[in-house]
């Protein structure tokens, strides 16, 4: 899909439909929504409202689970994760804004499993792009796009939500 035609509302519509379909086919019971700081949390808020889920939205900060500590050290500005105390046996819908290398999701899964063993985890992202480095992939998506090398896509927000396409000065 050409990037010029990315529209937040449309993407959310597609994503919501995809999630609903997956909830039905995989028989998710009383799913817990978890959004990954910060872009994923904004999207999760939208989905949380659209699905009219009563249970409060869970929030995940993956700073302490990143795999690049030895390369780039401590990240400042850690926000607290907010999750219910027990995740054993829960069905989880994990939501992020952009799925790129897969490392963020790996970190998120590690953190979730440290809280407890879920029954299943559904991964829903607003945008899936090329460049995967870890064998993970989303179950639901708002759109799938291909970007040339040196281009990055970011969600801006929280209000209004927007999509930002950046060209990096030097490749990756």
């Amino acid at each position: 899909m050409p990037t010029s035609s990315l529209n937040i509302a449309d993407l959310l519509d597609t994503l919501e439909a995809d999630i609903r379909q997956q909830i039905a086919s995989r028989k998710l019971a009383n799913p817990l929504l978890i959004g990954i700081h910060s872009g994923g949390a904004w999207i999760a808020e939208q989905i949380h409202r659209r699905l009219r889920i009563a249970e409060p939205l869970g929030l995940l900060d993956i700073t302490f689970y990143r795999d690049d500590f030895s390369q780039i050290g401590m990240h400042p500005n850690v926000k607290a994760s907010q999750l219910p105390p027990h995740l054993e046996g829960r069905d989880i819908i994990l939501i992020d804004d952009v799925f790129y290398t897969g490392r963020t999701i790996r970190a998120a899964l590690n953190e979730i499993f440290d809280y407890g063993r879920p029954n299943q985890v559904l991964l829903a992202v607003l945008i899936e792009r090329n460049g995967r480095q870890i064998p993970l992939q989303p179950d639901c998506r708002g759109a799938r796009i291909d970007l040339p090398e040196g281009q990055r896509i970011k969600l801006t927000g929280p209000d209004p939500l927007g999509i930002d396409l950046q060209t990096l000065a030097c490749a990756a």
Partner: protein
């Protein structure tokens, strides 16, 4: 020299040896990072994998169960492996040099030394001579510095008082022999408090206390007047035996913190003590257990601060954060 030894050329913290030479910005970063770790103790799983696979050696040449266990707890909460070396009972007391002890441990591929030693400058020496990838944290060297204690004290003060500007802080007791006091004084001044007072008899004040950026006082009531924070220091028994003081009771009369003396301070003043406390010597039980005391918070804050310092130093090889 101190400053350059602790920091990388990008200004990131590589070793944590002393407050001296560290900027207000860096000290604030330590406090902010500690803030983010403070919540972990409330989680069901009190662990994050940040330092998984790293080996941290507690190199204690001086006995200390309290400090050592908080460092151990901090390390395990970061998923690191911990090696406890109590040198007083091991090879070094048989004459192995400091350098040889370090080299032997380095050969076991460790990542960090947390050092406590009876001589000033020991952590500094180890940092200078250790392999380049290893970080050193000073858990107390002689009478020189105890920077993690000072930072957890600053963390506690910030939690209660929000801002350092305008604060009047009194440190009471054996300043002369106290590495904690030296580090606290540096931290308080760097973070920009209004006034640091040290209250003690002349025998327990350093000879050149005036050049340390503090106001020395000998009368406690005067010294506590209108302060926001009272920090009581531990009095060691041997001071009575080496002609520093006549007796514990005389010390308590003049310099012990009682409810009456505490009334000189501001009504919302907090009472701190690095521990362990000697009840009835430097502080009355009613104050230690009273509403203004934050002594127990200091202990739990100590874990978060040490976690912060460990991750910042071991994560130093990054570029700009």
């Amino acid at each position: 020299m101190h400053r350059h030894l602790q920091l990388t050329e990008h200004g990131k913290l590589k070793h944590f040896l002393s407050i001296e030479g560290l900027s207000k910005r860096l000290l604030t970063e330590i406090l902010d990072t500690a803030e983010s770790f403070a919540g972990i103790s409330e989680h069901q799983v009190k662990k994050v994998p940040l330092l998984r696979g790293k080996t941290i050696v507690n190199l204690f040449f001086e006995n200390s169960t309290r400090t050592r266990t908080t460092f151990e707890l901090a390390a395990t909460r970061l998923s690191a492996d911990v090696l406890n070396m109590n040198i007083a009972t091991s090879a070094t007391s048989k004459g192995e040099s400091l350098l040889d002890t370090i080299r032997n441990l380095e050969a076991m591929h460790v990542d960090m030394f947390v050092v406590r030693h009876a001589l000033s400058g020991a952590a500094h020496f180890i940092a200078q001579h250790t392999a380049p990838h290893i970080s050193v944290i000073n858990a107390g060297d002689g009478q020189h510095a105890h920077p993690t204690q000072a930072m957890l004290d600053m963390f506690t003060i910030r939690q209660h008082k929000k801002q350092f500007a305008g604060l009047k802080v009194a440190i009471v007791g054996d300043i002369l022999h106290s590495r904690v006091a030296r580090s606290q004084i540096l931290a308080l001044n760097t973070l920009g408090v209004a006034e640091v007072r040290v209250i003690a008899p002349k025998t327990l004040l350093p000879a050149h206390v005036g050049s340390m950026g503090v106001i020395p006082l000998h009368v406690m009531e005067e010294g506590l007047s209108d302060v926001d924070v009272v920090i009581m220091l531990r009095l060691q028994k041997e001071r009575m035996n080496s002609a520093f003081l006549p007796s514990e009771s005389e010390f308590f009369k003049c310099y012990g913190l009682t409810e009456t003396k505490l009334q000189q301070a501001k009504p919302d003043a907090i009472v701190m003590h690095p521990g362990p406390i000697n009840r009835g010597v430097e502080i009355a039980s009613s104050v230690a257990d009273g509403p203004q005391s934050v002594i127990l918070e200091q202990v739990s804050n100590g874990i978060a601060v040490r976690m912060a310092v460990m991750t910042m130093t071991l994560g130093h090889h990054g570029g700009a954060a």
